[in-house]
């Protein structure tokens, strides 16, 4: 019997870490132009296809008396339309609704990939994907501002807040630039990435460590602890389900909020 209290530290067991988030090519031995495709890339493409397919399916054969599927589709659509877009963007919400709806469903599906069988990996726990999506949102809210107020007008609105005395402007303007154009998208991306990365890592710790302990020979206490840990990982997976939906909602709400601050008439 192992006298150590911590069997996980004797060198046999490698705890889950950052290396579990790195993937090789998804099609080893395939043609060279497919070598860049790894698991997250494949998941992102599948997620996008699923979004297209689900909304295509939800928007055809609409009836006055909705079926269960139509009710569900309309419920999600109206949650984004009324709950997020119209609530935040008021009169201008229609232009941005397609982007917000696509964003929300794409995020939701990709976050739930981390919990569902076969995938078991949230795409946005890979920071590059989160940066990409945040860059897209950045383009939308900056582009909307430029389209509405013109280049100089939008910059003046974003960089010079009302009621600030002129002698403070040299301190304020660089700060406003950094806050509105750089830290905003970065925090948007990092919030999404960090939540999913941490959540997936916790699941890995419980599942990998639990199964190691469960199959540890000649030590009943370790086996029981491993079993309990595996059972508890189910609770963590349910928490992940919630966090995935919450982060999709927050990302969409904040995108709408940024669009709203760049196109609103008065601050």
């Amino acid at each position: 019997m192992n006298p150590g209290l911590l069997p996980l530290e004797d060198g046999v067991f490698t705890p889950p870490g950052v290396d579990d988030f790195k993937f090789g090519p998804a099609f080893p031995g395939g043609p060279d132009w497919l070598m860049w495709v790894n698991k997250p890339a494949l998941q992102a493409v599948i997620g996008a296809l699923l979004v297209i397919l689900l909304w295509w399916w939800a928007s055809r054969n609409l009836k006055v008396k909705p079926s269960k599927g139509q009710f569900f589709g309309e419920y999600v659509y109206e949650f984004v339309r009324n709950g997020i877009a119209r609530d935040i963007l008021h009169h201008d919400f229609k232009k941005f609704l397609p982007y917000l709806l696509g964003l929300f469903s794409f995020l939701l599906i990709n976050n739930w990939f981390g919990v569902f069988f076969f995938f078991m990996y949230p795409t946005f726990s890979n920071v590059g994907y989160a940066y990409g999506l945040a860059f897209l949102s950045w383009c939308v809210y900056v582009g909307a501002g430029f389209a509405k107020f013109g280049f100089a007008g939008f910059l003046r609105r974003q960089l010079i807040p009302e009621g600030v005395p002129w002698y403070l402007l040299p301190i304020i303007i660089p700060l406003e630039f950094l806050a509105n154009f750089i830290t905003r998208p970065v925090t948007l991306a990092l919030r999404l990435f960090a939540n999913l990365f941490a959540g997936h890592l916790v699941v890995l710790v419980f599942v990998v460590g639990g199964s190691f302990l469960l199959t540890y020979s000649d030590n009943l206490i370790y086996n029981v602890a491993g079993g309990v840990s595996l059972l508890f990982s189910l609770a963590i997976l349910f928490l992940e389900l919630f966090i995935g939906a919450l982060q999709a909602y927050i990302f969409t709400v904040l995108t709408a909020q940024y669009v709203s601050t760049s196109i609103s008439e008065a601050h």
Binding site: Y75, N82, G83, I172, A179, T183, Q257
Partner: protein, 93 residues
């Protein structure tokens, strides 16, 4: 979290026009209940202030071989951020 959002989504579905009626023109925009959203927007200001002026202070320390510019920069950055947040969001309706 945001009860109003959920309620609105529900009630919009349950009315006969299924939420397709635009809000009345000229009506004041409904007050947002989501103070959490504003908090998350304000976060970028705090970070920006700390990074910008703290960073400038750190650079100054590095090249001028002093030790007091970084804390001064951090405090100045935080103060400027707070000032900006009050200017942008602190107006009472």
């Amino acid at each position: 979290m945001n009860i109003e959002v959920i309620e609105q989504a529900f009630s919009a579905r349950l009315t006969t026009n299924m939420g397709t009626t635009p809000p009345p023109e000229g009506a004041p925009p409904p007050l947002r209940g989501g103070s959490t959203d504003d908090g998350m927007v304000a976060l970028s200001y705090i970070l920006a202030g700390l990074i910008l002026y703290g960073g400038l202070g750190w650079l100054g320390d590095h090249y001028l071989h002093t030790e007091w510019l970084l804390p001064v920069g951090l405090i100045l950055g935080l103060a400027t951020s707070t000032y900006l947040i009050i200017k942008r969001y602190g107006r009472l309706e």
